[in-house]
Amino acid sequence: MSYFRITLIRSAIGLPRRSTDVLKALGLKKRMATVFHSVSPSVAGQIMKVKELVHVEECQYRLTKQEVHLERKPDPGYYIEKSCAEQRGELGGQ
């Protein structure tokens, strides 16, 4: 089962009512929003209507909203090597 991963790149402001409605039907409410739809002729037709506004990829799994968010989340870049309580414990142990 494969899915379309559709991301709204450009907004439909100033475009005909039809393209706004197609985006609404796809579930795209704001720019950079990502939705997943299973590959079917009807969805393909919807994408064709707004092909100038969206970026489409094909993928095997439907990702959750958090998974899409985590793709962009960077690593923290740090970790706590020794907390002050641990250091105090070491001092007490000596």
Partner: protein, 258 residues
């Protein structure tokens, strides 16, 4: 036919007898329950201690704080192997500030190994540490004021910065692609405290309304001091189990200053 007084006396008798039975039974039950819980606790305690990495001395009263190895504290009860992340609380362990565990040994290319002594010999070193993908150019002894309040750290904690995009000295720079392996260097930072900005008051008004809302903000920032920026020598790397390999595509490169 009972009179009301007779009924009342009967009721009072009942009340007298009933509480006594309850009061005699209840503490016993309670005590029994308490005893049970106490025995449960007694039976559980050695188990928990034995699991906390003190198998040879299960009854010693060593607190957890003295453990040398950093304990992996999971902030959320989320198992990344079984579940797909659904909510904002589900953050995989790789994206949390947790000490890393390594499965494969460090791989160092031959050219890096040959050039590393030049970099190691030339002190002081600087590091471009990436904190939440923002670069911080740090040298030993620097004071940092992060533009945010770092969660779950206290003054006195020692942090390790483990994402560096560049590492260098006066004449040499090691560049990562995109980051240098964290086992090549050590960048320790001590949290020195929390700074706070002066209270800012912004007056919020709407048109044609006399009401003025005061929005207050007083942000807090974490202060830190860089304890050391150290590049490990080739001998140290080999002692820690680094493997020397031929050229590979995604390896760090040391470039002399042009």
């Amino acid at each position: 036919m009972f009179s009301r007084s007779a009924l009342r006396s009967l009721a009072s008798e009942l009340r007298l007898t009933a509480p006594s039975t309850i009061s005699s039974a209840a503490p016993l039950q309670q005590r029994a329950c308490l005893h049970q819980s106490a025995s449960l606790m007694n039976s559980q305690q050695p188990q928990s201690q034995s699991t906390s990495s003190h198998p040879e001395s299960p009854l010693s009263a060593t607190p957890r704080a003295q453990d040398t190895q950093p304990k992996n504290v999971k902030t959320s009860t989320f198992d990344e192997n079984t579940m797909t992340p659904q909510t904002r609380a589900h953050v995989p362990i790789a994206k949390q500030p947790v000490a890393p565990t390594f499965n494969s040994p460090l791989k160092v290319t031959k050219s890096l190994m040959s050039q590393l002594p030049h970099l190691v010999g030339q002190k002081p070193h600087y590091v471009v540490a990436q904190l939440h993908a923002r670069p911080y150019l740090l040298t030993e002894g620097d004071h940092i004021r992060l533009p945010f309040l770092m969660p779950k750290v206290k003054a006195g904690d020692i942090l390790r910065f483990n994402r560096a995009s560049a590492l260098g000295s006066r004449d040499f720079t090691m560049k990562g692609s995109p980051t240098i392996d964290e086992r090549i260097y050590e960048c320790r930072v001590r949290v020195t405290g929390v700074d706070s900005e002066p209270l800012r008051i912004k007056e919020k008004t709407k048109r044609r309304q006399r009401h003025v809302k005061q929005a207050k903000s007083k942000h807090r920032y974490t202060l830190m001091r860089v304890m050391d920026v150290r590049v490990k020598t080739p001998d140290e790397l080999l002692a820690e189990g680094a493997v020397v390999v031929e050229e590979s595509a995604d390896s760090s490169v040391i470039e002399p200053r042009s």
